[in-house]
Amino acid sequence: MLVLIMALGLPMAAAAVHPDEVLDDPALEARARDISKGLRCLVCRNESIDESTAELARDLRLLVRERLMAGDSDAQVRAFVADRFGEYVLLNPPARGSTLILWLAAPALLLFGVGLAVAYVRRQARAPAPAEAALSTQDKARLQKIMKG
């Protein structure tokens, strides 16, 4: 966190959306906020345009609202912004191409883990219960050997 601050420093200091940007229609405004939270502020790193005070973020926020006013769907707005600023602008990487690996990693790892765990638990349950007894007979045999030797 310390590091986070040193780097991000002061520009992060204030919330971003200005009263003059807010749309009159609360439903549309809520959608705009939601979309803004998923778009990266390109000049400030690891801040969404909803949080950033940067000028570029403000332009992007206005652009999002403009597109919404023009009747675009949420997906269309995101696609519109991504077309102009590149995939980098999307904080939620779209699940296509190689990014599918990223999205499938969690379920795949989980399935793999569940498989391992189930196999382990079942093997455990089936294993002979008195493991100590088996060992002690071995020990006895060894003991006898030693005694004889």
Partner: protein
């Protein structure tokens, strides 16, 4: 002169570490008690020398010795004394010195208090520990030496970022470091056990206090960072899924898993090789975190050192230690024969589920964190992996954990039956009721909120039911209350930590789902309504601070039926830094925070004012604190004082402590 002394002490400490890495290990292999015994004074000397070195650097900061490059870059004569001291670790070189100081302290503590550990194991543990220390000593001396002088010292230093001059932030890094480095102890024990080829219940009992201590510090450290972000960054965010945050969160997840699997080793002698692997991975991820932060490969603006040589060196340490040890693990893990057998329905199985969810979630966070790097290097795509991705993939794991936790906590060891869970029925009904009620009352929000709140109720009620059930069935309530007070500390620790998890979850759910925001241009004297609160901007005045000027607003907040509250949010300008900062004003409350931020002035005399009503915000960090408290309770259990303190543990429990006197965890 003192500086040279500190520098020399550091070099000596490096030499001692090299010695301690080799001689006790050979002693353990060749069965030479004298060679093994040398580890103890060596560990003490290593710590003492590092402490001298750290003291010398602190002295240079306190006396503002501007012939040191590090002091020039990070200090200033006018800085308050507290921040002169914390400035020692507010930079790359100094923070690494703090890192090895903690590392050597842990090594020395293992040498002093580890008298119950068999000599051969202890010698190996200390040797492995010294090898980690040696690698970091070399790293400091060769790439990040804090004791470098300047030929021509300037008159004054360049100061420290004003945002960093904050008491919460001053203690945040030491907490995290103690946490990270504490995991190195578990790592050393794991490697020593692999080398020795033996893991038993006693091993579990030695490892767990160290892991628990590390976990407590990590929990507090992460909580402090999150709290700081909340009150300082000006809009009340508390977690950003930033690579640097993830770097501390992954070891925390793995340490939590390790904590639970070490219980299984200790009680039941099962899950041995998995526990070893977790111990290796938990510390491995601490190193990965250090690599991410120090090398700056990920979103480089967050790192204070973007020197590729340093990054490469840490990558080297990482590959050498984690890679080498994983290889050792692959060769030796087969020898770790499990003794304890358990049925599919048992505490052991529940802890396997806990470990599965925690470990996989840590891996998912890891993949998400490094994916931008992989995408760019392998697939030539520049993309971002941000909070939406992490929320989508991580939250299911948390839900799974919370669902299973109270069930697993109630199941008996070895072989259980669903019947054992019957007392939880009430908690389950309560949780479902809470979900439905929240759902019905607050319509039009994300469905996740009610679910998470129901789960939080489930966790808290489940922990209470579990504690109550431990007092024995059938006895009169008064007798049971008396027994409740006498339950082992470990039982209380477990319940308290789980309640803390529930409270944090509740706070996060409430804050993220039911926050009220208001952004407007407020004119002095004109009241407006936000939620149930009446808010009036009374005026904005100019205030002169010690090293800043500030526009301070006076805002009156009235609640129905309660007297007015005055909040004073500020906009500060630090002339030296030349940048404005905002100081949010927060009215902390048990059920909500009122969080007010002052924005820009308008031409007509109004000011932009942002008001947030944040329900149950403090529960997030309160819960983290309670989790840490639970860890502390567990750590203070008599068994661990015995285990950590003396050989008595072995004398008292010759079969490894699985006997009846040990409280069920």
């Amino acid at each position: 002169m003192i500086t040279e002394f500190g520098h020399f002490a550091l070099v000596l400490a490096f030499m001692v570490a090299l010695f301690q890495m080799i001689v006790p290990m050979l002693g353990a292999v060749w069965h030479r008690p004298g060679w093994m015994a040398v580890a103890k004074p060596a560990a003490t000397a290593q710590f003492a020398l590092t402490a001298c070195s750290f003291g010398a650097l602190t002295h240079a900061f306190v006396t503002s010795d501007f012939s040191l490059r590090l002091v020039v870059n990070n200090s200033h004569t006018l800085k308050p004394i507290l921040y002169k001291i914390t400035g020692v670790w507010g930079n790359h070189e100094g923070s690494l010195l703090l890192w090895v100081l903690v590392l050597t302290l842990f090594g020395a503590m293992a040498a002093w208090f580890g008298t119950g550990v068999p000599p051969a194991l202890r010698a190996r543990v200390l040797a492995v520990h010294a090898s980690v220390a040696a690698a970091f000593f070399a790293f400091i001396l060769f790439t990040s030496n804090p004791f470098l002088r300047l030929a021509v010292p300037p008159f004054n230093g360049q100061g420290l970022n004003p945002l960093l001059q904050d008491p919460g932030l001053a203690v945040h890094p030491p907490f995290l470091y103690v946490g990270y480095v504490g995991l190195s102890m578990a790592f050393s024990f794991a490697v020593a056990a692999l080398l020795q080829g033996r893991v038993d219940a006693a091993w579990g009992r030695w490892v767990r206090p160290w892991t628990l201590a590390a976990w407590i510090f990590l929990t507090i450290g992460i909580g402090l960072g999150s709290w700081w972000a909340y009150y300082e960054l000006g809009w009340g965010g508390f977690w950003f899924w930033d690579p640097v945050e993830n770097a501390s969160f992954m070891p925390w997840l793995l340490a939590t898993a390790l904590l639970h699997s070490a219980i299984v080793v200790e009680k039941r002698e099962a899950l041995k090789s998995w526990t070893i692997l977790l111990a290796i991975l938990a510390f491995g991820f601490s190193l990965v975190g250090t690599f991410i932060v120090r090398s700056g490969v990920l979103t480089s603006v967050h790192a204070f050192a973007s020197d590729p040589a340093r990054g490469l060196y840490i990558l080297g340490i990482l590959i050498l230690f984690v890679g080498g040890v994983l290889l050792l693990f692959a060769l030796r893990a087969g020898a770790m024969e499990a003794k304890g057998v358990f049925a599919p329905v048992s505490r052991e199985s529940a802890l396997v589920v806990n470990n599965l969810l925690l470990a996989v979630s840590a891996l998912v966070v890891f993949i998400g964190t490094i994916w931008p790097l992989i995408a760019e290097m392998i697939f030539d795509r520049t993309l971002s992996v941000g909070p939406p991705f992490f929320n989508t993939t991580f939250i299911p794991f948390v839900i799974g954990l919370a669902l299973v936790l109270p069930l697993g906590a109630m199941l008996p060891w070895k072989r259980g039956h669903i019947r054992a869970l019957r007392p939880l029925l009430g908690a389950g009904v309560l949780a479902v009721a809470a979900t439905l009620l929240t759902w019905a009352v607050f319509t039009g929000h994300s469905a996740l909120g009610p679910i998470a709140i129901g789960l939080a109720v489930w966790l808290v009620a489940g922990a209470a039911v579990d504690l109550w059930a431990r007092t024995g069935r059938g006895a009169p309530a008064r007798r049971r209350l008396g027994r409740l007070a006498r339950l082992p500390r470990a039982d209380w620790g477990k319940a308290v930590a789980h309640v803390g998890f529930g409270l944090t979850m509740f706070g996060i759910a409430a804050l993220t789902t039911y926050e009220t925001q208001d952004i407007r241009i407020a004119r002095p004297g004109e009241p407006y309504q936000v939620g149930a609160y009446n808010i009036t901007l009374l005026g904005v005045g100019q205030v002169q601070g010690p090293n800043y000027t500030s526009a301070m607003a006076t805002i009156q907040v009235t609640d129905q039926g309660r007297g007015p509250e005055v909040l004073r949010p500020e906009r500060r300008v630090y002339p030296v830094a030349g940048m404005p900062t905002t100081e949010a004003a927060i009215d902390n409350g048990f059920t909500r925070d009122i969080y007010i931020v002052l924005g820009d002035p308008q031409d007509d005399g109004g000011w932009v004012v942002r008001t947030y009503i944040k329900p149950f915000a403090n529960w997030i960090w309160g819960g983290a604190l309670i989790m840490a408290l639970g860890g502390g309770l567990s750590l203070s259990d008599r068994r661990y004082r015995v285990a950590a303190g003396a050989a008595g543990a072995r004398r008292r429990a010759p079969n490894g402590g699985v006997n009846g006197g040990v409280p069920a965890e």
